[in-house]
């Protein structure tokens, strides 16, 4: 069982990326689709401001998935990355543009500049999920054989299944984003924006559902094995959950209940990922089961320890971030706090400059001795620590009165 656990975590990561990352891309999609005009400007602004505090965290999920897969299933990762390199490269470039656009937006001074940046952002927000979805489609339809670039560089991700999943990824992202942004708009208290995003959520929900149903036909003809497992085999429960959650979300949005809709929408997407995994198990790539692809025992234990320990830190931190965001603590509204009590405590010379100076000198001598004269390894490490101490103490001594 051990060999499959990292994959389970990677899939959880993928599902979270599929929800949070996709919503992020979806927000970009709505920025692009808003068109020109003053009203569109408000939509763009809302999409940007809602996502700005969380987008970086949303995207680290992708890095998490990649690192877990290449540590725990190095052979599969090598095959996937080399065969699907074109799709992944396109996604990579799109990610560069998106991130750059985020970074640049704070520097834009005129509306014209800002809308150029938003357009670049929006276009890459469509390209990236499509390319990543297409890559997933390549894996799911068994077009990635084992080996260094053993599969076809283009048809591996330009085929009916890939295109279906790529398009679905874009539309689902837009749908998720619309649901989330509706909720955010309620919090901000902007009636008009709520109506706008509710309409968008309903529309994109219908489109996403239609594509998903039509997509089953594509799967039927293009990747029949996957279709069989998904509709009649192990993937069926997940598929049912996904459909139910999707319908429930639509109903909740219809009744203006956006907060619970966030979670049902997320569930619908997560269930799809689970369904894919179940339908494909135990096969990772054609002719390569999960067990065969897994790294040696010690590595699997190590990565699990890292994931669990990291998770123990991460989950509360992430919880804090989302709690603060959802409660509106990180919104942009200007709310000046009173300045702290002016304590008149000037920051100047340290209290014991001579002592600190002597400590710094002593550390310098010790550091030099341990690092540069002594030969033993432990001495070097100790010396390095002493030298860091020199910088720290010396900083306090040498810092001029400010």
């Amino acid at each position: 069982m051990l060999y499959a656990l990292p994959l389970v975590f990677a899939l959880i990561g993928l599902a979270l990326y599929g929800v949070l990352g996709a919503a992020d891309f979806g927000a970009g999609f709505w920025q692009l689709a808003a068109g020109p005009g003053k009203h569109a400007e408000r939509i763009r602004e809302h999409a940007h401001k809602s996502m700005a505090p969380v987008w970086e965290a949303n995207h680290v999920w992708l890095i998490f998935v990649l690192t877990v897969v290449w540590t725990a299933y190095p052979k599969a990762f090598g095959s996937i990355a080399s065969t699907l390199c074109v799709a992944l490269l396109i996604a990579a470039i799109g990610i560069i543009f998106r991130g750059a656009a985020y970074a640049l937006r704070s520097g834009a001074s005129s509306l014209a500049e800002q809308s150029t940046i938003d357009t670049a952002f929006g276009i890459s927000s469509v390209i990236v999920p499509f390319a990543l979805g297409a890559a997933v489609g390549g894996i799911a339809s068994g077009r990635v054989p084992v080996g260094n670039a053993a599969g076809d560089l283009f048809t591996s991700w330009l085929n009916p299944t890939s295109i279906l999943i790529g398009v679905l990824a874009v539309v689902t992202g837009a749908y998720l984003a619309a649901v989330f942004l509706s909720g955010d708009a309620v919090r901000v208290g902007d009636e008009q924006l709520v109506r706008d995003f509710r309409a968008r959520a309903l529309l994109s929900g219908v489109v996403a559902g239609a594509i998903a149903i039509g997509g089953l036909a594509v799967l039927h003809s293009d990747s029949h094995a996957l279709f069989e497992e998904l509709v009649t085999g192990k993937g069926l429960p997940a598929l049912i959950v996904s459909v139910l959650a999707g319908v429930a979300t639509m109903a909740l949005v219809w009744w203006w209940r956006f907060e619970p809709a966030r979670y049902t929408a997320a569930l619908a997407v997560a269930a799809i990922v689970a369904g894919w995994a179940l339908a494909q198990s135990p096969r990772l790539l054609p002719g390569l089961t999960v067990r065969q692809a897994a790294a040696p025992h010690d590595t699997l234990v190590a990565i699990l320890v890292a994931i669990l320990a990291g998770g123990a830190l991460l989950v509360p931190a992430l919880g804090t971030l989302f709690r603060l965001t959802l409660r509106g603590h990180l919104d942009h509204a200007e709310a000046e706090q009173a300045p702290p009590p002016h304590r008149e405590a000037q920051f100047g010379e340290p209290r014991h400059p001579q002592l600190l100076l002597r400590v710094a000198a002593a550390l310098l001598i010790a550091g030099f001795g341990f690092t540069n004269v002594a030969d033993a390894q432990w001495a070097h490490v100790l010396g390095g620590a002493c030298l860091l101490g020199v910088v720290a103490t010396g900083f306090r001594v040498a810092l001029p009165a400010l």
Partner: protein, 427 residues
């Protein structure tokens, strides 16, 4: 290609390592004194920090893509050995991203104490992140913790491979201090330029003094750490050391050449200092130092490339150290900051120079390891992808990176030109 990505990523890493600590120091000053000036500095620096972090997120993501796109064989063979490092790095990155979000958008929205506390994880995760990435690099230079049987890594002990590695420590300290030097000199350089243009209020004085003092102390210390690093290289990667110094033949009492050009097993036109290399590497002027001839020609790195990079790093490092010593000396003897315009010109120049030294240092260690990707175990040519069309990919990414660099400069100029309104007036 990965080289290019790293060259873009590394300076951002420096800011990731060192800048949060500086921003937080200033915020701490604000909390202690209630002086609005510190708040202004901290907030302005925060904006720079977040812009650079955003770009760092992208280049970091791209790097993890490239691990697969460019080196599928490397990852396929050794992913089980070194991947753990990146997994932990992934978590660090995550924490950093989360708290940077809270920190940046939490100004004025959180209580002052909570806001300050939210900065601490940024500093810590910056540290663990660089620790783990460096542990992977240290492992590539000095591999261990696995056995290679028929092209497959077996008997893998990832913890030992990454963190039980003697190589890790000098690389970590060297890189960490480099982070403070680069950030310190670059930030200080911006205000040195301001002073040269005649803007010199209390704001500029403060914003210059903090980073400059750190960099001025860190740069002489870096020379000592560099010596430690070089001696470890001498012990574990003798061929790399020989390439640093252009030592063709294994020699007793080996000399050091400053500048010059390596050809046919010797350095031409360089300034020769007899026996110094033996002394520095083994603390014995007559010690035998292995030359490039210790291994067959196909196992040697491109000597001149490595040497030039190494000499650039050492040369600039020495200049920076001298500048640092000068600053500390004036501060100590005269009790003030130097006031010659030449000093400020030098500081303004020191920022870009330290960047050059940083990249040169990275080229030194990576190029010096060639033709190996994992020293003595896997050749770079074996690791690379079998997919065609790589040049096209290279060209595209190169173009995109050029765009990113231009964009970074643009935003930094913008942020500098239109800073947040100062709350406190200059004194």
């Amino acid at each position: 290609m990965q080289a290019l990505s790293f060259a873009v990523h590394i300076p951002l890493v420096c800011f990731g390592i060192a800048f949060p600590a500086m921003v937080m120091f200033v915020e701490w000053l604000y909390l202690r004194t209630g002086d609005e000036l510190y708040r202004t500095i901290a907030r302005r620096w925060t904006r720079v920090m977040v812009a650079l972090f955003a770009v760092g997120v992208i280049t970091g993501t791209i790097l993890s893509f490239e691990m697969g796109l460019l080196w599928p064989n490397f990852t396929a063979t050794f992913g089980s050995v070194f991947g753990l490092g990146f997994a932990i790095e992934g978590f660090s990155f995550f924490m950093e991203a989360i708290f940077i979000g809270i920190y940046v958008y939490g100004w004025d929205r959180l209580s002052r104490r909570a806001h300050f506390l939210s900065g601490i994880p940024i500093v810590l995760s910056g540290f663990t992140g660089s620790l783990t990435v460096i542990s992977v690099n240290a492992w590539m230079n000095h591999p261990g913790g696995f056995r290679l049987v028929a092209g497959k890594a077996v008997d893998v002990k990832p913890w030992k491979a990454l963190f039980g590695n003697t190589y890790l420590w000098h690389e970590l300290v060297h890189m960490y201090i480099a982070g403070y030097i680069v950030t310190g000199f670059l930030v200080a350089g911006a205000y040195a330029v301001a002073r040269l243009r005649g803007r010199w209020g209390r704001y500029e004085r403060t914003a210059l003094a903090i980073p400059l003092t750190i960099a001025a102390l860190a740069s002489p210390v870096q020379v000592l750490v560099g010596d430690w690093a070089a001696r470890d290289v001498a012990h574990h990667e003798p061929v790399k050391l020989a390439a640093f110094e252009g030592l063709g033949k294994t020699t007793r009492g080996a000399p050091i050449h400053v500048l010059g050009w390596y050809s046919d097993g010797d350095v031409k036109y360089g300034l020769r200092i007899p026996k110094l290399l033996s002394f520095l590497a083994f603390h014995n002027p007559n010690a035998t130092v292995k030359g490039l001839d210790a291994v067959p020609a196909r196992d040697r790195p491109p000597v001149n490339g490595v040497r030039i990079a190494f000499q650039t790093m050492v040369g600039i490092g020495t200049l920076l150290a001298l500048l640092g010593v000068f600053y500390v000396f004036i501060r100590w003897r005269r009790g003030r900051v130097p006031d010659s315009p030449w000093f400020y010109r030098a500081v303004a120049l020191a920022g870009p120079l330290s960047l050059v030294a940083l990249v040169a240092g990275w080229v030194t260690t990576e190029l010096g390891r060639q033709p190996w990707v994992v020293y003595g175990t896997m050749r770079t040519a074996q690791a690379v992808t079998g997919a065609g069309g790589i040049p096209v990919g290279y060209a595209t990414l190169a173009l995109v990176y050029a765009g990113v660099i231009a964009a970074v400069f643009w935003i930094l100029r913008r942020l500098a030109a239109a800073p947040l309104p100062a709350v406190a007036e200059e004194v």
